[in-house]
Symmetry: C2
Subunit: 424 residues, 2 copies
């Protein structure tokens, strides 16, 4: 079955907001054997109706997002009704629940809020449990005089669309789709290797497997490899990829690097502290985005100013004076002092030059030192060079630090089990 | 002139990556009087050729992104050549610069890298100064036998596309477009008010102005209002919006809240420290994303564990025992101690329950206290309630904290100038 997505919203085309729905819906429908074949983004104008009419004959399932709210530029509901030749009708139950919601949140009632209680005749309401505008579903050919696909009309805010999609749209989709169950998919998240190097290591061998689809996606500090095929092809490709990439694969479950690190720490009952200069709290922020981080994360020292390095972590000003704040010596002191102050098992430290200013010939913008202190091990300090924009630099620096810790934990665990097995 | 964007990439339609090009290109071309009328996202298949052919007669300017890299799923260059009936030709100069690049970065040369030196006959190369794959431009009707728009073919990675677009595509676009110079645009970034409240305050009055276009965009903790029209209409609408929304407008220059806060601090030569529990470093991270933050940001205490609150900021364990870590009293102590430890002019503190676990009947998930200490002022502590997912909670909490500081600085500045003018 062909599925297509229309994102409505002038704000999307003006660049005022980024769309998150394509990625979300694509991932949710993949297990049903469905893929988005095409996505179109159109403004809040008559273009919505024209696009609906153009796509009706081209797909069996059509998702439409946005434009269901109370403001005057929210016209999707009218455009859909129009394209299908259906009347909009006020739903009394929806109106009551809107009135209750407004009361609960202490919002002043305004007539325009009531527009959100209207749906095209024959539509099934998709309740909105996290916002006001409901979505709706119209089965294929709802108006017998107009050929149309199954139509899911969903609200714009991701925090409203996402629970609605999972709770109310997916069950309908499951009943529509005859699942073949034959096609599988596997993702590998890789760090520490570039895209070309990854392809050189696995490309030809994987593509030699009949019926495999192979894709790459490069992001700052990460490469994602995607294989799609039947179970046998996936198994063969999986063996090739794991043997070629080894520890560079940090997840096969679409986890973030920080999720992997938090899980590894939790698994070994170990704790972490951070001393961040150039990453300015990004490592702590990424770690604490992971539910359950409080079990493993003790403290983050964002010692941004030089005097904060002294005040927070007793870094000797003479050390900074002699070697500079961006140096192997200061990275070492930061990570060791952070581990001591927080009495944690591990500590990570970053010091570098994020730019755009602050570089010098010996230490240009992009210079980075990452330190890792671990109980019972020698401190590691690595130098990196990421000459890029400020936010990408911070991301790559956090990525390098988290990956240093991940590899250290994997090596320690491997070492322990080696020793337990009596190996050298 | 009608401009359309095609994003190519199976990874986009599978939800493995988010597109950033629409927003970037839309904002870059707006000052030339151009808007993206439609955006299509298509997979790395023959759909690229079909979509090109379908859109050729529908626009005067066509942007195509992605699929120019060295891997086997990069087929955009071939599809474009095919759709236009043009041959691909190796460009010797491009080949040399690719070889140099590979040498500089110490990458192993692979034959597939050379594909990136091919462009359709007659194309103008758009050099890639931050990556390997060049882009190219083909003027309208490059092949006289096929009617086609001006065509800009650009690489997928944003950090390659963006500088290329600014340096090489924009000058060509300027020469193509006859600028009318009549339409202007103004954005207002608002925090502390919901979308419906904003519309109730300004909607009818602004829409009564002839020729004005008004749009809203709601994001967690922010509403963006956009007006488009001629200079006179913009001026009238601007007066209405400023008078109705006042201090709730934090930027009219598309700045982030953290940029505004850093600029205000810098303007008044003041410094900031943070003590973050539930936001886990997000405030420090947002602040340090702003170039020049090092002038105003001293230190961030990410005191995540209770014992870190004691170790880092001397919070009395008895205070936590008596009132709980998530309490008005602990928020007050955190912010005051952070300011004292960092000897900064201001300090912000957060403590709350991000969830998904950790709530109780008196303090459910979503409970937040934000503290603000300022030299020469009483400490402020405010309670908020944001019952949502973990990352949105952190974002809303950081937003509330930054906005508390922003309003305090504006009020202080207003108070100072009032006093200077002899007002009470």
């Amino acid at each position: 079955m062909r599925a297509v997505l229309i994102n409505t919203g002038t704000e999307l085309l003006l660049g005022d907001v980024h769309d998150a729905h394509l990625a979300f819906i694509a991932r949710e429908i993949f297990p049903l054997g469905l893929r988005i074949e095409e996505r179109r983004t159109v403004p809040d104008t008559d273009a919505i109706r024209r696009t609906l009419a153009e796509l009706f004959p081209r797909c069996e399932i059509l998702f439409v997002t946005g434009g269901l709210g109370p403001t005057s530029d929210d016209i999707t509901r009218e455009m859909v009704a129009d394209a299908l030749g259906l009347q909009l009708r006020g739903d009394p139950q929806l109106l009551t629940s809107l009135q209750q919601r407004v009361q609960t949140y202490g919002i002043k009632w305004m007539p325009r809020i009531a527009r959100q209680a209207e749906v095209p005749a024959g539509a099934q309401v998709l309740p909105n449990e996290t916002g006001s505008a409901p979505g709706f579903y119209l089965k294929a050919n709802s108006n017998p005089r107009i050929s149309s696909p199954h139509l899911f009309v969903l609200p714009g805010p991701p925090r409203e669309l996402q629970p609605m999609f999972r709770m109310f749209a997916l069950p309908i989709l499951r009943s529509i789709v005859q699942m073949s169950g034959l096609i599988e998919r596997q993702l590998y998240s890789i760090t520490g290797m570039g895209e070309s190097v990854v392809e050189a290591a696995i490309g030809n061998k994987v593509l030699a497997i009949p019926g495999i689809e192979l894709g790459y996606c490069a992001r700052p500090g990460e490469v994602e490899v995607r294989i799609i095929g039947d179970a046998e092809a996936i198994e063969q490709a999986d063996a090739i990829i794991r043997s070629a990439l080894g520890y560079s694969i940090f997840s096969i479950a679409d986890e973030t690097l920080e999720e992997v690190v938090v899980k590894l720490l939790a698994k070994h009952n170990q704790t972490l502290a951070t001393a961040e200069s150039c990453t300015g709290g990004l490592i702590a922020n990424r770690i604490t985005n992971v539910p359950g981080a409080s079990v493993v994360f003790i403290a983050g020292y964002v010692c941004y100013a030089n005097r904060a390095k002294g005040d927070m972590l007793n870094i000797d000003p003479a050390l900074i004076e002699t070697h500079g704040a961006v140096s192997e010596q200061v990275a070492r002191a930061l990570t060791e002092h952070a581990r001591a102050c927080a009495t944690s098992d591990y500590a990570l430290a970053t010091t570098g030059i994020a730019g755009p200013t602050g570089g010098s010939p010996e230490k240009p913008v992009g210079t980075l030192y990452v330190g890792l202190a671990a109980s019972g091990s020698d401190t590691i300090v690595k130098r990196f060079f990421f000459p890029t924009d400020r936010e990408t630099f911070k991301h790559l620096a956090a990525q390098a630090a988290l990956d240093l810790l991940r590899r250290k934990m994997l090596n320690s665990a491997a070492g322990h089990s080696e020793r337990r097995r009596g190996a050298p």
